[in-house]
């Protein structure tokens, strides 16, 4: 009897969490999926309209803009965060005396929401009061930094602020990875006469492969979900120059009273996210079990 009970306890312990997730995540996704096939406007409605919302969605220049911006923003953000994160981790890993001081400085932006830092960033980037203005006051009259007002460049200011927020976190991941490298491998390389540069390039960085992968997954999903950032910095402007899928989805669902189209864009976002995450999870779980 006691053994039977012991068999059930683990599953009993797990089941509330699993049940919550099943309902609150997958149930809700299914519900949104259903709404995307209806003519819902201000509140959910259950009139089936087939693929109409998807057809309208892909005809909207606004949506294409959001998707294009995501491609630019996402690739730059992931690339710069990874490179910067790795660079900082390597630099910090050189027996730096002030490491204990520097590390939290690099990490802290992750602790703050853009609701908090948005005003400061907006200020900083605004040519009228921010960096440009300050440089002019300091006597550097020709200094120009007005990207946030320029519809070609505004999306890059979003990248700058986003990198500021997450690169420290990526640094921590790489630092953890570097500290996990077996020192014997490095010693062996040094005995073979390899330079520091070669050691990193040939041996250590290749060993960081799993960290790159984890960082990619974390950053990719942050990029697709990016919302507060844009709202706080540019509100999607100038014009629609910095709209992203998340801001698009919010605006169609909640301010334009076109919940059906909003739901269809949410489903496209989900498909994008899942197509990145599922292969990763699959390979992780495969190797994870055998370890």
């Amino acid at each position: 009897m006691k053994e039977r009970l012991q068999d059930y306890i683990p599953k009993l312990v797990l089941s509330p969490s699993f049940f919550l997730i099943l309902v609150f995540v997958y149930g809700f996704i299914a519900y949104t999926g259903y709404l995307s096939f209806t003519d819902s406007r201000i509140l959910p409605s259950y009139n089936w309209v087939g693929l109409e919302n998807y057809e309208r969605l892909w005809k909207l220049p606004h949506w294409w803009r959001a998707i294009t911006n995501l491609a630019i923003f996402g690739s730059l953000y992931i690339l710069i965060c990874s490179v910067l994160g790795l660079l900082l981790a390597i630099l910090l890993d050189q027996k730096i005396r002030a490491e204990g001081l520097l590390r939290p400085i690099y990490l802290y932006p992750m602790a703050l929401s853009f609701i908090v830092t948005g005003t400061a960033w907006k200020w900083f980037l605004d040519p009228g009061i921010g960096l440009e203005h300050t440089m002019h006051q300091w006597g550097w009259e020709s200094f120009a930094f007005d990207w946030i007002k320029d519809r070609q460049m505004a999306i890059y200011t979003v990248v700058i602020a986003a990198v500021w927020q997450s690169s420290g976190f990526v640094m921590a991941m790489f630092l953890a990875g570097l500290r996990g490298v077996d020192s014997d491998i490095i010693k062996a390389a040094q005995i073979d006469g390899a330079s520091a540069f070669t050691t990193y390039r040939r041996i250590i960085i290749p060993l960081m492969r799993p960290v790159f992968l984890s960082a990619f997954v974390v950053l990719a999903h942050l990029a697709i979900k990016a919302y507060d950032l844009v709202i706080a910095l540019t509100g999607g402007g100038p014009g629609q120059a910095t709209e992203l899928p998340a801001t698009f989805m919010y605006s169609y669902t909640f301010t334009r009273n076109l919940m059906g189209i909003g739901a269809s864009s949410a489903i496209i976002m989900m498909i994008m996210i899942f197509s990145i995450i599922i292969p990763y999870l699959y390979s992780e779980l495969r190797t994870g079990v055998k370890r």
Partner: protein
Amino acid sequence: MLRKLMIGTVLASGLAALAHAQDGGRVEVLHWWTSGGEAAALDVLKKNLEAKGITWADMPVAGGGGEQAMTALRARVTAGNAPTAVQMLGFDILDWAQQGVVADLNDVATEEGWDAVVPDALKQFSKYEGTWIAAPVNVHSTNWVWINKAALDAAGGKAPETWEELIAVLDAMKENGITPLGHGGQAWQDATIFDAVVLSLGTDFYKASMIDLDPAALSGETMREAFARMEKLRSYVDDNFSGRDWNLASAMVIEGEAGMQMMGDWAKGEFLNAGLTTGEDFVCIRFPGTQGAVTFNSDQFVMFEVGEDLQAAQKEMASAIMDPTFQIAFNTVKGSVPARTDISDEEFDDCGKKGMADLAQANENGTLFGSMAHGHANPAAVKNAMYDVITRHFNGEISTDEAPAELAAAVEAFK
């Protein structure tokens, strides 16, 4: 520690529930007037209600001209937990009324004779299928231009009455080395100017294009002219306009950095707060070519369906909003004019008096129109589709020649 906190929460919420049960009169108000003068103005209403023993539960959600508040409202209504009253604008009111979740105020309205004192154009939103559902607080008109008097004097001194005169003044201001037009590059601000520009091309044209959404008017030659005027106005704006809040644009005019601002009458509050006097330090005129017509928006408190225990307080609140003394107190602070036509203009300044006279005149002549930019001409989906085209054009993403066709197509897609 944790347990103490949790017990604290339970206790606190229990006590709160008890407190509410005792007096019975409680209104929960969802609004986005969260700071400064607006919040102070609303506080007048709160005090009036408190004097009647009604508790005011404040539920402010700021952001994006009420966008966040509307999201919160959706969550509240979906949860079956609607607030008593919600600040709302234009077509949003009708959209919610269609959902069948709003209250019926007919008995208060009949008793106090609202039908006789509220202009028809406003009733279009305060009533749904013959039932009063909302209490209008004010009428803002949006086709105003606010001019710095010193800058105007330096530019010839005569307030412009036609488009050509306006351009002449703007050119003169440019030569005088200031930014002629103080403007913030946000979609709704671009659209506010667009509203006035369209209206200046004729009241019939405004009605055909913005309200009836006639495809021929939307894509026609007159619309091209409207976009051409927008392009012209764009050349008087400083480089740094994008994303600027409207009150910062007002500040530019106040400080003489900019010559004028094209903005609704809420801008007046900024000028008065800065210690400026109407007529002496700044001038208010209708957008050149729109004298006699008014595009308006009206803040209303929509009453939602609530439990029977809360209905008495809800009706008290509706009645308190329509109270003439409150309408005067609120609107003198907010810069708008009262939603009732039977209120004396004595306590209002020159611009306020002009606003009230213009409103009455436009109401009589049938030239009082809902503002497209502020959601009083068409539903949110159409409004935003127009915003998209207007703001893309203003930012140079599409040309003046392409814009009318784009506008017609965008409207068609969401009608």
